[in-house]
Symmetry: C2
Subunit: 374 residues, 2 copies
């Protein structure tokens, strides 16, 4: 049980009933599921690694808890298990990829690999993706750049749950941004953030605990401030990072908009309120101005700017500076982006990955349907 | 008087005593000041356009109100009026520029032009800048890309006023990010945001009005929440966008950190708490791990991804979608990033630029010293 591991983990995330599985157990089951729906062994392997990276890094909302959701999208013919993923336009430093309605878990690593190859050639590579689906956590894709001494960038748009500042209507997804940068002796800097005050997964946790949300997370169907964690089911909306105008929500809104433009307007994917939903039971938007959902992947070779050794030495100095800050009352340490997830990874790779009983039940049912045992 | 122009402008920004000047009046005076300190006519022209773009766009804290500050930096020999700005490393899509301690107002447009030229050649261009000074508003530089049917990106680090989540120590500047994207019939999308809940200029306004800040803007010298707009002078700090951990301040902190890494770690500029201060009376940091302050400029050719006409058509549709949102109680319209600044520009180019009496007094004193009349 990992709660209390990091002071960045709020206490309400703790003490849910759960069972623990090894990475290998979850890997074998998940890969078998992807193969059962028709994915090639190679695609199933890629998708499984991307999906499980969320469980390993403590982002429980984006890992195997969503596995049955991906299968339902395939059953609804919204996911193509055998996509022909291809570049449809390119320049020396850019490309647009058509994901052929495949799993984002497979398409995003494909696109990131192109970005890395272009960065090798001309210093940086930037790939916008159309016709994709949910790609898991952004960090998994951005971090692919690190082993090449590159910075990695990953973004995706998502179905509309977020109301812009002053709006009742939900126009944007939680639209995350990840930036990963290598360091030397210190672990890599990895910032992976939804452009909302809080993501949907945190609401689900509060629902289970019958707790209210803090202010600035959600509003109700009429656009009034709310602290009801069930409010999305009642027509409410998530709020952009900042919460309200006085606290900078116009900035969170602008950042979410930037992610939408990079991911979908540059690629020809659906954007704004017309992004297809993840739950297969939610009807597709009536209007579809583009194809599927959109991502944006980037890679920048460090030595396209300065020697990688110099950069990494400065990154170590930078990181150590933040780690040695004096802390505010009640806190033990100042974290560097990526610290909490890395602590989860060390813990879970050694002691296993705890899953909520509801997730175990969902996966067991899925296994029964497909003839697989968790 | 422009207050009330936009519903995005809080009421406490209004009703200061002020005088109004035409753009041309301020242009002539400002250019003459830059020439008096030794800038070439060409550099003085570039710097003046960059500086005044802030006044025109309603970002009063970053325009001529800072003119005497730039002169004091020159007097303190921290600004070189005759810099030899040059590329010190490059690849087809990247460059590092050494600004030779010149005005950021001159160096950033130079670097952005390089980014644009590289984007013409290979699809995108990315320039990290060392050895620079304050560059004015990010939007001015990012928007240079628009006329080339490119997206523009501009960032800069700044001297440390911001405490990371859980930290007492001030480790980052307000580190703004701007992204500009062209549209078709609609005006361009221009998101320009400090990665803090509120920037320093807003505190100054509250000080003059003897008003408290909202929660989540600042903390005191011991790291406790505060609403005192004078708190920075008492050892306090600005807070990252989000304000506190429950409201996502770790995200604002991560974004400010990303700006620092792009601007300074990639270029070899000073970073984190070692960024030189803007006020010339504040001593330089004891440690200087790099050179000057750092910027990051980027340009992406739209047709390196898809035909610019298709992109612009979708941008128009996107923008119109946001403009037609239903509004929350008490608000008239949902804004698109760039709307308030464009409304200011239309108003001020026609009716003049209002300056606070304190700013007029400061500029008059500066003129007297240099033998110039405002």
């Amino acid at each position: 049980m990992v709660c209390g591991l990091s002071s960045a983990v709020p206490s309400y995330l703790c003490s849910m009933p759960e069972k623990t599985y090894s990475y290998q157990q979850l890997f074998d089951f998940t890969k078998a599921v992807f193969e059962k729906i028709g994915c090639s062994p190679e695609h199933a392997d890629t998708a499984t690694k991307a999906l499980l990276s969320a469980d390993v890094r403590g982002v429980d909302s984006h890992g195997v808890a969503r596995l049955s959701g991906y299968v339902r999208l395939w059953e609804a013919k919204r996911v193509n298990a055998t996509p022909v993923i291809k570049i449809i336009h390119e320049t020396p430093s850019t490309a647009v990829v058509d994901g052929d309605s495949g799993l984002g878990l497979v398409i995003a690593p494909f696109a990131m690999q192109i970005a890395i190859e272009k960065a090798k050639q001309v210093g940086t590579g930037w790939v916008s993706v159309q016709n994709s689906n949910h790609f898991g956590i952004a960090a998994h894709h951005a971090m692919m750049a690190l082993e090449h001494d590159m910075m990695g960038i990953a973004m995706t748009n998502a179905s509309p749950l977020v109301a812009p500042t002053f709006s009742i209507d939900k126009m944007l997804g939680t639209n995350p941004i990840c930036v990963a940068a290598p360091a030397g002796k210190e672990p890599a800097f990895v910032a992976d953030l939804a452009t909302t005050t809080a993501a949907n997964g945190k609401l689900e946790i509060l629902q289970r605990k019958s707790l209210d949300t803090p202010t600035g997370w959600v509003q109700d169907a009429e656009g009034n401030p709310s602290t009801d964690p069930h409010i999305l089911k009642k027509g409410g909306a998530l709020l952009p990072l900042g919460g309200d105008r006085d606290h900078g929500s116009h900035k969170g809104y602008a950042l979410g908009a930037v992610v939408d433009i990079f991911s979908a307007l540059l690629s020809g994917a659906n954007y704004a309120p017309w992004v297809p939903p993840f739950p297969a039971y939610v009807p597709m938007p009536a209007q579809q101005p583009g194809k599927g959902i959109g991502h944006f992947l980037g890679a920048m070779r460090i030595d396209a700017f300065r020697p990688a050794a110099d950069f990494k030495k400065d990154m170590d100095h930078w990181i150590q500076g933040f780690r040695s800050c004096r802390t505010v009352p009640g806190q033990e340490k100042v974290l560097v982006p990526g610290d909490p997830e890395r602590e989860y990874e060390a813990e879970r790779m050694q002691h296993g990955i705890p899953l909520l009983q509801t997730v175990v039940d969902d996966m067991t049912l899925l296994g029964n349907r497909l003839g697989l045992v968790l």
